[in-house]
Symmetry: D2
Subunit: 284 residues, 4 copies
Amino acid sequence: MNTAKLLLHCPDRAGIVTDITNFISVNNGNIIYLDQHVDHVENIFFMRIEWDLENFLIPNEKIQDYFDTLYARRYDITFRLYFSDYCPRMAIFVSKLSHCLYDILARYTAGEWKVEIPLIISNHGDLREVAERFGVPFHVFPITKENKEEQEDRELQLLQDNRVDFIVLARYMQVLSDRMIYKYPNKIINIHHSFLPAFVGAKPYHAAFERGVKIIGATSHYVSSALDAGPIIEQDIVRVTHKDTIPALITKGKDLEKIVLSRAVHKHIERKILAYKNKTVIFE
Amino acid sequence: MNTAKLLLHCPDRAGIVTDITNFISVNNGNIIYLDQHVDHVENIFFMRIEWDLENFLIPNEKIQDYFDTLYARRYDITFRLYFSDYCPRMAIFVSKLSHCLYDILARYTAGEWKVEIPLIISNHGDLREVAERFGVPFHVFPITKENKEEQEDRELQLLQDNRVDFIVLARYMQVLSDRMIYKYPNKIINIHHSFLPAFVGAKPYHAAFERGVKIIGATSHYVSSALDAGPIIEQDIVRVTHKDTIPALITKGKDLEKIVLSRAVHKHIERKILAYKNKTVIFE
Amino acid sequence: MNTAKLLLHCPDRAGIVTDITNFISVNNGNIIYLDQHVDHVENIFFMRIEWDLENFLIPNEKIQDYFDTLYARRYDITFRLYFSDYCPRMAIFVSKLSHCLYDILARYTAGEWKVEIPLIISNHGDLREVAERFGVPFHVFPITKENKEEQEDRELQLLQDNRVDFIVLARYMQVLSDRMIYKYPNKIINIHHSFLPAFVGAKPYHAAFERGVKIIGATSHYVSSALDAGPIIEQDIVRVTHKDTIPALITKGKDLEKIVLSRAVHKHIERKILAYKNKTVIFE
Amino acid sequence: MNTAKLLLHCPDRAGIVTDITNFISVNNGNIIYLDQHVDHVENIFFMRIEWDLENFLIPNEKIQDYFDTLYARRYDITFRLYFSDYCPRMAIFVSKLSHCLYDILARYTAGEWKVEIPLIISNHGDLREVAERFGVPFHVFPITKENKEEQEDRELQLLQDNRVDFIVLARYMQVLSDRMIYKYPNKIINIHHSFLPAFVGAKPYHAAFERGVKIIGATSHYVSSALDAGPIIEQDIVRVTHKDTIPALITKGKDLEKIVLSRAVHKHIERKILAYKNKTVIFE
């Protein structure tokens, strides 16, 4: 089934749901999913609506324009339109740890996700062998203070050449420059190895051990220019005890990290995330 | 804010969402909540919609009739209509264990739930003191094989006299007769002390200990005529280890039971549950 | 069965376990529980050992002295000795929220815990009625900047008169002075409504909403002079979504708070917690 | 550090802990881990003890004999002795699903586990490519009713030739014959895709969907001759809703399955599991 997915938000007003469902129905689109949410604090209306394109009267390439003209301007709507037959293109950034990379490549190879992975980028050569096992091109860009700008230029060029839609930082241990972040707004997914906002920054498992917490966590979020402070997509936790040493926390945490990151990537691919200000609306 | 809540299901067909949202909008109702679900296996459409009644043009007492005439017949819709200003009346059935009863009465007294509790019924006198602490009338109906029918008649009369809308079995250790269940279809909420369908019937903690499980659970469900087999509303679990004896399982389980039961009761009061066949759709 | 429980820690050295188990065995004590832990970072040995006193050759009142003389000095052991037939005395401090208080009093009244609760102290009169329902004396000490020292003096006197062993802050919304904390070192249990160290201080649910987290938590800990920074005893979390408003977070959080606090209190009563520096060892 | 790990159980009696810790101490072994458990229902004492071999006076090859002679006979102890410098050898059995296999091979390749994997056995050829990616020999034994005995003979020979210590069934969809199970008692680890004992047998996700549960689970257990009824090692769950179709349950379940299986394998490798009757004692 070919479908269109429309994610939108706008100031809340009576009649929006009716108008938009009407637009789809009168043009012979069968709505197969609708979920909406109103943030009564900000007074913002959010909606995700998906419909079968089979008998839809408006050709795919004109939907964007029609919706923009007929509704978006009237209701001050910000929206994104996606088609289910497009396969998004994703780049992976890694450093030295392999667990998240393996988890993503196993899903990719097994066909779990509708996504293309044209390339992996790393600041170290360590994981080249993993990439080769799965036949995905691997590019190394060692980064130093001096060459960071130049290397990122080359990375950006490579991403553009590969028509990359979004980026997954699979334990990439290098802060991206703002320039890079602005190029991919809410399109760079990071995994941080703590339940944010606890333990921002480096060595969260060491900090968790030091504090004596009884649960540790992992958080996937979109990257914003503030460190570990972008919109949170998914979090999960695992219980720990006084018996867990720092290496034990790291081992337990790895399982969390890979699952939490993969859940976030999956939702992103499925177009179930709408980021607004510094939060996400996650449709089910 | 006074609102109407409409829960419905019907065979899935294009145009339903549009028609129903239209019905509300053209009559000046502002939709403040809409969630829908399609069961593609059974091809059933489910919806919960809530709207502000302030400027709604149809008087409350006529909405049921109008909706029935205009839409329910056309789409073969089964629906229930609720008004937020009505306070549902709930009876509690208990036996000897107090933890669920205390949890419910504490919430009730603290004003957490919009509900009236006109009475507590028990087959034992043990918890009279608890009921008295909270000033709720307590009625004892000892049940034997011989007097079961007669006692249930008296209970049913009492429930009717008190205009009871739904019943909560807060660890009531007596099987209800079918007659009683049919009087309150999907209106009797039970808590079973296992993660159903594991450990149906008596002494689930003993069975869990015997089997050596590493998690135990609790399940709240609507009572149907098949034992512990009605539509599940809510479940939760807690980890256990080989160190947990049967009394330890019971202690851990009590906390689960009361929380899981109270979550289910709260959802029922908020009209967020739609039971269909032997399952529930839980709107958020 | 009357038992002795010994909790101890000391610099780690070979032979300690053997010596201590020997001490109990040669004196005809039957060990019914033994758990030990070594913190290899600090090189500290921790142990909890419990034995049946029935045939134990050393009289109860001399065990402390014998153990001190024979082992504590030799191994530089810090230890506490408890007898199962002593019923610890606990004071509850509350302000205006009743959910934790109800949960504790229901357990107390139902006989779940081996504890005496001679009194409840509050800085407000709101919960007097709850205390009266359960027949526990309720004392109000309104606190202002000006009278804080004087009021705490009166509270300390009252605690002493009632031979209170430990204090539970059941959502007591008033910071204790250091003087009070030093009087009850690792004997004041607080519940904080976040997964610490995230959201220290006031209004953590508001902060969680603002940050857009996908899980919220609760943390019980011993009170130290640094705000919300004492040794953590127990934590738990619950999932939330973008649909959860601040009142919804507060409602979900209340269930967490009361369960997490009661778990901590129960472990404290059972003598399963050994606080060391700013962490806890929790024996099972 | 080279260590010995001793796991034992015997009828509970006073003095055992003291005697065994004495045995290690007087022979200059430094105890680095000790955990014990008494099952008061069965009156069985369980212990796991680990000690540094550096200065231990008894040579490794004689410890088994000495312990047997000096203690096992006296206390009727059943025990197993392991040395940390031995690397256990594990075979993987798979069918067509790759997620558990990838998870195991990624951990293996990354060096997370101290284990050798000399071979993978399958009843289908589908996952040969995965095995080849990781350079592990892959053997296909298609099984029919007619050839089952003969094929299992060949498998047993292959396992023996490769000196395999234990077997992991990573979603192997073929019931093993009792003969095979008896050869590897409590040495075959299976993953079942439900929270046992709910949904024993085939198609548990379909059954879970049908029943309308709100949580699904996965269970790793040792294989016994009764289907899905062996000693449980580890379980975990994930929440589901009415929106989750059967394919959605399968997708959510896969993540559970691989994590729960890998946790069980890890504990087995670390010698932290003691199976007794139909249960496990899991040391931490």
